[in-house]
Each structure stands twice: as structure tokens, then as C-alpha cells.
Amino acid sequence: MRLTPHGRAKALQHGAVAADLRASIASCTLCGACEPACPEEIPLVDMILALRRSQPLPCESAEVTTQAAAAAENVLLPGEALRQDSERLKRIASLLDIAVAADDGSDISRAIECGAALASSRVSIFISSFKSAKRLVVADGLLLRKLREWLPETRVVSLGEALSTLDAVRARLRATDLYVIEPRAFHADHARLVRHYDGLIKARNLKTNLDLQRFAVPTCASSAAKSVDPLDQARWILEGRAFERVVVEDAADCAVFARVTDRQVLHLGDL
């Protein structure tokens, strides 16, 4: 079965059911690059998520604290990888001058990605904990997409965008850096963010993981789909590019790049 969104659509038009597309559905990394590329503007990520609900992936439940958040206006949802590095999380919270949500919805994001059952009460509790928030900074690109749907009045931005907007962080980026954009959040708001990152690239003369179409090449390190080897992806991102440091937005990418290059690998919040 062809794994492209176009291939899946054609197969569905010719009688395929979700079970026929099991391998194709399971292999999608949900990087979201297909959506801004689609000339018909079809919500392809939602299409995959709907198919996943009938063909779920194995889903390990993420550990989360479901206590109510303090009533803060600026809240950071760090996601699984960043939450495991308390020092880095503390540093980023300080840089952004932001409260860290105890309940960052990692379990919800995991369930959505895997197509697992999700109790509506769990989502309601999670969303209600941000009713005082005016701005949410979200490290998990898939959760960010959903939070924009659930909280249309709240400004929801990615961790990468929030950090790369800070002058202190931008000033520390070097022309010799290879900057790795987190793809899910980027593609979810491509038309706007492509301008944001273009400004950053030109201001700091950066190299990035953007391809010629200005889509972010993913490592898939945070993806539940295991069809792609993150190390192969990271090697392709680095191929032919001269750089001295790798600067990543997704904390999960730090370990991946550290295995394929002997150059320094930093999270954007480490700068």
C-alpha cells in the first residue's frame, strides 16, 4: 500500500476500510507536512487520527498529574521529554517567565496519537484547568493543534516559537548553527510560522531542517509510529550541511542528534 495521503485517499475511494490500511495508518508519523502541501486543503492529520481510532496503535499510558493548575495567565505545557529534565525545564520556565502546568496533558496527546479511547471527562478537566490562561506555551505539537480547537479564545503557541521570539535566545544563535524546528507545531500553523522562521533564518543566517518547500524534515523522535528510524532522519537532516552546533526545539531530538554527530547538541532553552 502506498503510504502517501494521496495513496490512502485513493484506496479509500476504491473500497478500502481502515483495516486494509492498517500498515499505512500505523506508519504515519503525524508530522503534518502533508496539510500545507495539499492543494485541496484537506485536513489530513484529522483524517489519519480518525482512521487511527479504528486501528489504534499500542499505547503506553503517560504518567501525568491531574491536579488543578494554579490560575496563571501564562502557562507552559512541557510535554513528556522536557518534563523528564527538570533542570532544563526550570531554566526554560525562567527564560519565559511562565508557570509550568503540573498536568500537561501528555496522556491525552498520547491517546490521540495512538487512537486510544479518551474519556471526555478527562479532556474536560484538562481544559478547564486553563480557563484563566491567556497564553499557553506547548512543547507537544500534536497537543498544540488540539488545544487550538478546544480553547479558541486562548493564544496557544509552540515552545519553539515562544523561545525563538525572545531576544536573549535569538542573540545566542550563530550562523554556524543547524536549527531543528519541531515539525508538528510548525506545520499546524505553517502559513504564519514559515514567516516567523524565515525572519529568524535571515536575521541569524541559520541553517535549518526545512526542505526546499519549507517543510520541516522530522526526526520522528516524539512519534508513536515506529516506521521511521529517527537516526536515519537525523542523518538526512545533517547530510551535506556544514555546522558547528545542532540546536533543537524538541527535547526528544537532543538524544537523537547526539548519536549521529560529534558536534554539540543543544536545546533552544539551553542557549
Binding site: H14, G15, Y197, L212, Q213, E239
Partner: protein
Amino acid sequence: MPPSPSTSAHSTSSLPPCPVAPDALVGIKRQQTNTSRWRGAGWREFVLSLKDVEVIEDAPTRGTFATDAGGTAYGMPHGVVIARSAAQISALLKAAQAHRVPVTVRGGGLTTQGESIAFGGVLLDMTGMSRVISVDKDRLTARTEAGIFWASLAEHLRRQGMDYLSAPLNLTSSVGGTLGVGGIDVNSARFGCSADQAVALQVVTPTGEIVECSDEVNPELFRRVILGYGQFGVITEATLRIRRYTPIRMRYYYYSSLRTAIEDLQMLDRVEAADYAGILTMMDAAINLLVAFDSGEREAAFDAKWHSRLRGMGETAFAARTFLSYLIRPWRWGEALFLRARKRQLFPEFSRLEHMRDGRMEDRSVVFSRAVWKFWGGRQMVIPDLATSSAKFAETVERGNAVCKQFFPRYTLYCVGIRLREEHRPHYEMSCIPPDAADWAYGCEFEPMIGDDTWSRDHLQSFQNAIYDIGVEMGASYYRFGGMMKGYIRRVFGDELVDRHLAMKCAADPAMILNRDVIF
């Protein structure tokens, strides 16, 4: 009582001929819109004989390939094979010859006349072979598997500061498919068609031999495969000429006369004043001559010598002139509003900030390809084209433009020059390159803006026939003459030439299995 034939003729004499009547297509029989389906005789034995080649037979997979970019032809293969290696394709073709099973080869599926649709038999999906094998920056060549899309090839080349020479303005056209039919770019007036970039090929012949060919090695096969519409072999690898990457500097000149714009385009090509040149129109109301340069030096030389000789206007002057023209023609205000809206949507696409740096366009293939799909793509597309010698081109385009007006309210013309290589003349025989062209050929695509509108297939077919009839009268050739339009091949090329190629095809492909019904 039914009217007598004479009464009927008299009462309808003021009506134009019915465009969908069986005898309506002047000079030719009614075109069938789908090729007849191969019925599957011996299919099971064929599949069983393929021990090491996986044939996918489930309906959803086969349905993935049911149509092409044109969206007007539909056919289902009996099975799909994903290309993995030349050896695998060799085994497939040997078995196909033995069992007389048709094999249709498909890259990006960007044909519009059903050429990449399998009407039964095997659909060979070449996208499974899409690796870049090597890049030689000293010799300026790249070796690649032929199922790769040009956009993916560009990604690899750009990592090394290189670029391909010219390729179709489409992100999902494959290298192999393009080399088989031509391929034009806005720099084709300088570098020739995409097929002219090929230095050497690995080909699996219809009988399954794996052969390396070039102008020096197996030249006859090379000549037949290049621009050969897939009749003489499956291209599995290609060595292409490449160049160092440069961003480009764009200029636009606006015309209200097709002929004037074409004359200026041809003048620029003759004197090699620009590195890129082409015409893109909104009907014949706004004609845009696009000119671009690889370097500031080339642009400065153009400004010094050629800019003042062009008769096109700048954007502001053209807008003012067009406004006044429509002001006194209130019955055409609808068209004026369309042009204004179209310009506002389209032009920002050509100057998207993320693809521009210091006033130069960084990724022309991406910018143009995205604009093409966004503003001209649709679920159905017909793009009849005509290719002529320089001398015949303006008249041909004017006549084609009149046909477009007759059939559709909104359409686009896209015109470029194609530099011919004298040493490649044997490649050009029975191809999109017209036989009487010397130095340059010129091509024009006539593309109705169908969008989400619904037109009958008969209307679309009649339109294509009307364009191709002009080609027959003008002694032109076509880029898209295969598949559903193959009824024109003998009219255009003549029986002697077609019969000679048919004899070569019969010798190379005794069971006539490879890309059946595309040409023969």
C-alpha cells in the same frame, strides 16, 4: 411521423455542429475516451510464474492508480508491482512477454491522457526506485534511479550546492517519465528539454535485458528510449547533466498582444539575453513575459542592451491601460474583475518571502510548481499543447487562443522556447519536437481553468481535438499525443514514419506488452 432528413437539416442549419455527435470531430473518427481493457487471459499463470516479484492484487492498492493527473481517464490494473531493482523489472518483463500480459509504467502519474493508467495487466510503480546514486561535482553529472521525483533530486543536489538543468514545473513528476516524453522549463530555451539532459541510461528492454545506453554505447536504444513514450524500455537509472545552484532574479513584462509578446520572447531567445524566459497569460487579456537571470552581471547586460527593445510594459502602466480599456467596455467588467482578483491571488505566490533572499528567488521549481497546482490544478485537467518551429509559432498560438475562447471563459497559455541540439536530432524523431524546427522549437500549452466547474468529457475532448486539428494543419507536433489522443499520431507524423517505428516496436517488444495503447 418523424421529419424527413431534408426537413431536419433545414431546420437546424443555423445551429453549429453538435460537438458530441459521433461524426462531429472533423476529419477523424470519434475519439474513445478510455482505452479498451485487457481481459486478463493467462493472468493467474503469469502471477504464479513470478516467484521473486510481489504482485499486489487487492482492490484498494489497484485503485490507487485508477486515474492520472488529467482525471478524465479511468482504468484498473489486475495487479501492481512496486519497482525495486532493474533485475526485478527484468524478471517481470520476461514473464510478461511469455504470458502476453501488458505492463504500464508509472512515475508520478502526471499524464493527462491516461498514458500512465493500466487498463488491465500490471501497473509498474517506479516510485519504489528513487535513490540518488552519486553526484559528480567535477563532471557536473548525477546518477539517479529513475523513479525519483525532480523535487527530491533537487533536495539532494542542493545539499551539495548543485541543481538540475531543467525540469517540468511540477514537484511530483519523475525523472524517468520526463525523459520519456520531453519536459519543459522556463530555461528550456537555453538548456533544451529535460530529456536532453540525459547523458546515459540504464534501461530494461521490453524483453527483459538490462542495458546501459548513451550516445556512444547502444546509441540506437538510447535514441528510441529518450522521448520514446516508454515504448522501447523502462528507464531504471539515469545519468543527468547538472550545474551549480544559483538563485534567480525575476522580471515581468506585460503585453496585450500575444504576437508581440511571442516576438519579444523569440528575440530574447535568439540573442540569449536572459537565462529564463517564458510567457504566461490570463486569457489573452493579460500576457506576462517572464524573464530571469542567474547573476547580476547577466541582468546588467540585459538592462544595457535588451530591456529597451522589449515592447512590454511595467505593471503600473499595464494596469492603467487595462483599466481604461475595460472602462469603456462595461460588458467586459466581469472579466476585468476576474483579472484583478486573479492577479491579487497569484502574484504574491511568485514573491513569497520565504523563497526570496536579497531580491532573488531561491527555489524557482518550488515556487512555480506550487503556483501551478494552486491556481491551475484541479480534479480534471486537459492541457492540449502544440509545438512548432519558430516561424509558425505566433500564428499557431493565435489560432489556439481563438479555440480556447470558443470553449472556455477562463484559460491560460504557457509558452516557452526549447533549444534543440543538432546532435540529438535522431532522438527527436516522432516526438514532441516538430520535424521542421531548427535551433529552437516553441511549445504552447492551452489550459482551461476548470477549477471545480463541471464540463462533460465530450466537451473537454472536443476542445482538445480542436487544438490538435490546428496542429495537423500547421505541421506541428505535440507533447501529449499519447493515450486518448493517439488517434492523431498518424495524422501528424504520417504512415511511413509511424509504420517504421511500429516495426521497431514489434521487433523490440514482440508481445507488445510495454505501455500498450500509449502510442501503438
